[in-house]
Subunit: 337 residues, 2 copies
């Protein structure tokens, strides 16, 4: 069904509040979740809310968590998420990054003991709105082996980068060859998948989609994707001293609903206006123009700004609406439809 983003944000906020998340954090989380649907990225949108609610009620996510400062020195801020929701925590971390980048030119904010944060590109906007570059890294449950490795070591190891051209260029990708969702879709239709998407424990490529779902995600382009994933893991959990991906429970595994995920996020923010001349912004725009002039597509050119999301409609699968209504009934809130 189709519903307005503003309505969806209000209802998601109310559900999160009912399970104990303070209004400000609930609303920031709801905005991040719904923005993903507005962007057409349903897999990180409201379909995830029932999982978050379940984890909160089962104890795997701490509804009343604070973002505690572990240390603050120079341009580096180290935070402990106290097992709270990843969305509002990473949004807040990104805003701290902007303030620190204004002060020092570049800053790093690290959050450990946090949870899944949805679509990583969301958290680029505080920097983009300030005319700054942001680079964001996060980890998650291990699904990707080393090249030739017999067990999963790394998460999909996503990287997001925002470049303040007009409109901004948004880079937001996993360093696995494809998302698990693509393999799941192929498995549903009983088909095969191309070589290089999934591997078994002997490191051999799997082309049967159903078998691939039991296997591991192959890194993007083999050794290069694994190396990039290793960089992401080192910059997120490695740097924060938080849980490595091999220790992160999967939010889709009901047996793990009471276990905190211990996910780490890292935001690096750069203020280009500190580089001594004003050429940077002109060059970002020139780069974007060159892409268009040669027939290419500028990444992120069609993304809706978080502030404009409320004016859009989102489409939510009936099965997801049913789950959300079950939660609404349980918590004494009106139904979605």
């Amino acid at each position: 069904m189709s519903l307005s983003a503003s309505d969806a944000i209000e209802r998601c906020t109310a559900l999160l509040e009912k399970v104990g998340v303070p209004y400000g954090n609930a609303n920031a989380t709801a905005r991040a979740i719904v923005l993903s649907d507005v962007w057409g990225n349903a897999s990180h949108g409201v379909m995830r809310l029932p999982f978050y609610l379940k984890r909160i009620t089962m104890g795997g996510v701490n509804a009343g968590a604070n973002l505690k400062t572990i240390s603050e020195r120079g341009a580096i801020t180290s935070l402990d998420g106290e097992d709270g929701l990843g969305h509002w925590q990473l949004w807040e971390a990104a805003n701290i990054g902007v303030q620190k980048a204004k002060e020092f030119g570049i800053s790093l904010v690290s959050v450990k003991n946090s949870s899944h944060c949805g679509a990583l590109g969301v958290y680029l906007y505080p920097a983009l709105d300030a005319g700054q570059i942001a680079l964001i890294f996060t980890n998650g449950p291990a699904v990707m082996p080393a090249v030739g490795g017999n067990a999963p070591l790394l998460s999909t190891s996503p990287i997001a980068a925002g470049i303040p051209a007009k409109p901004p260029m948004i880079i937001d990708l996993s360093t696995s060859a494809v998302a698990r969702g693509k393999i799941a879709a192929a498995a549903k239709s009983g088909g095969t998948i191309p070589e290089g998407w999934a591997v078994d424990r002997q490191g051999k490529t799997i082309t049967d989609a159903k078998e691939a779902l039991m296997g591991m995600l192959a890194p993007l382009g083999g050794a290069k994707g694994f190396a990039l994933g290793l960089m992401v893991e080192s910059l997120s959990s490695g740097l924060s001293g938080g849980a490595l991906s091999t220790e992160v429970p999967d939010m889709f595994n009901p047996d793990d609903d009471s276990k905190p995920q211990g996910i780490s996020h890292t935001v690096i923010t750069i203020d280009p206006s500190d580089l001594g001349d004003s050429a940077s912004y002109a060059d970002f725009n020139k780069l974007a123009s060159q892409i268009k002039e040669t027939g290419g597509r500028v990444p992120g050119a069609k993304r809706i700004h978080p502030n404009e999301a409320e004016n859009h409609e989102i489409t939510v699968a009936e099965a997801v609406i049913k789950d959300l209504n079950d939660w609404s009934n349980k918590l004494g809130l009106p139904n979605f439809s």
Copy 2:
């Protein structure tokens, strides 16, 4: 022929001095060049020296360049390379990055108007020796189109990242699917190349190796590789306000020998000891152990440290020795053999 690295460094230093490069800069450059050969990466080793010497004598590289400070604010340092050699300039930038990271926890050093710097992984060592993480980006002549684009926009857009595990993990890769050298090797043997290595101006994949040499390098995994390349370009020339890759002359094109390349380098350095606990280093080591335990290979585990390079032998192709001897004769220096 085989020669000792210490001998090679001495001779390369002498050649660079003879064309006007001051001793310190000549020696730092020679060390970076020879280290690449020690690592078995001959394509960025002494085989490049004749090209550098030619560019210096033709005016494309400024032998007497300084690394001029454009601005220095907080944790950001912006430098102008005055068209000098990239090797000593990036080495110096990396060392400045280490000092600034000690002061601020994270730092960024940008160099514009520089030149080709050889193997990017070399410049991770000042940070690694200080127990710090370094991320390095550089640009170069455009060889890679946007996905679906009809003209080259980006360089091979390399990324280097050094993680201070024991031994350090070294990530050093281009965001193109493969290096042009691999295509050249296939062309020599008259063979074909796999789909996804090269594209023509209509964006179609090329499998004939000889045709591919006339084409453009495909980005790693298509859209993801292009997005990563765009991040590299934005963080190097975009950030420095220097020449975009479309404006960078190719060092292998003799017509461009008098034109400065205007290459940009950026070093981000992070001091993990500023993150409030000592878990980081333990986690870097644990990550490396996990890779080995599952049968994978730790990137960079076999790299020789720059300080130990002199104790090793390097192998240089006879054709390269001949070129170096021609230059030695011209400049009144003893031959290599």
